[in-house]
Symmetry: C2
Subunit: 215 residues, 2 copies
Amino acid sequence: VTADSPQPLLADRTPQPDGVPERLATQIRFLMEVDRLKDVLRRSPLLAADRRENDAEHSWHLALLAIVLAEYSDEPIDLGRVLALVAVHDLVEIYAGDTFLYDHDGTTSGQAEREGQAAKKLFALLPPDQSGTFHALWREFEDRLTPEARFAKAMDHLEPLLLNYFGEGGTWQAPGITEGMVLSRKAGIGDASTALWDYVRRLIGRSVDEGWLAP
Amino acid sequence: VTADSPQPLLADRTPQPDGVPERLATQIRFLMEVDRLKDVLRRSPLLAADRRENDAEHSWHLALLAIVLAEYSDEPIDLGRVLALVAVHDLVEIYAGDTFLYDHDGTTSGQAEREGQAAKKLFALLPPDQSGTFHALWREFEDRLTPEARFAKAMDHLEPLLLNYFGEGGTWQAPGITEGMVLSRKAGIGDASTALWDYVRRLIGRSVDEGWLAP
């Protein structure tokens, strides 16, 4: 699915019953369309099964990380808002696709524009007030101007890094990835949590020592 | 994996680096163990792909439903707490397995005890204070004594029902399932939201008319 795809909505294959309020029918169409997030594959291999992770289960895992690790935020955070941010943060990838953190080519350079178009298309499925809410949550996450967004983004950086460490390589085994690249791309964790950034540097250091990540 | 399985924790295959605070190392072990939720399969077929749903992506989908549909709660709810409840609600299935809503045999009868054992085992991986927090969230969800738990449970009932409706059958096609059974098992939706229960009854009615669900 691309941003200009004419593909019909998942819910439009089946008419809704008579007598359903228009607003609710609209909301349900959106909620069925986002089922597609379960079919957006990331690069990260799971620990629990021999397959790659999808965006939906990744988003859930961030919620768990946030609940357990909230105490390490350097700033006070509203955990409920962090949970809302992580639930919506990857929705634009339904139409824009996942972008690998270490991609350097045109894929990455067009990412912001592609995701902006995808957000416009996807959130337009909601009633106008909720479209605004979702746009605002997504922008908050991307812009990291609030403590909640910085912490949510730190979880988004931390989860695949943990999968790589405990998977003893994972996406770090892709050609051309080095310790310096990982440290630089993951530095946002330090903007949210000194303790977690210290932990991450230890994970990266041992990974290099063990040969799971190139120096 | 069963409640008394000697299977090692996913994170214990790989030692953590030196110098990591014990509390953080413990929390991370738990957060890696719950990766297993991505490998617990439910009965529901996805709309977006030709496979069954797993518990992790289901839990994420409930968060989206809660954000969009919160306005239909009959009682005021703290959305952030609902999001925490849905994130943790199925964790016990990592060790207890998924129980199909329409199963009537011994599987169901032992469910509560099996899940209690699983909760004890899984949440014991956390530091004691957080073990208490997770136990409390899970019990709150199961007992439905708060408006947030009633609404979270309603989302848990609603999501697979929507997948069945828009999938034009889904798990309703399993032998022996009837309209009456669905109405009775899903009645908890009405305890949280009159509007959503009205909607659900319309979905069920049309499903019977269309032959996706036996009368």
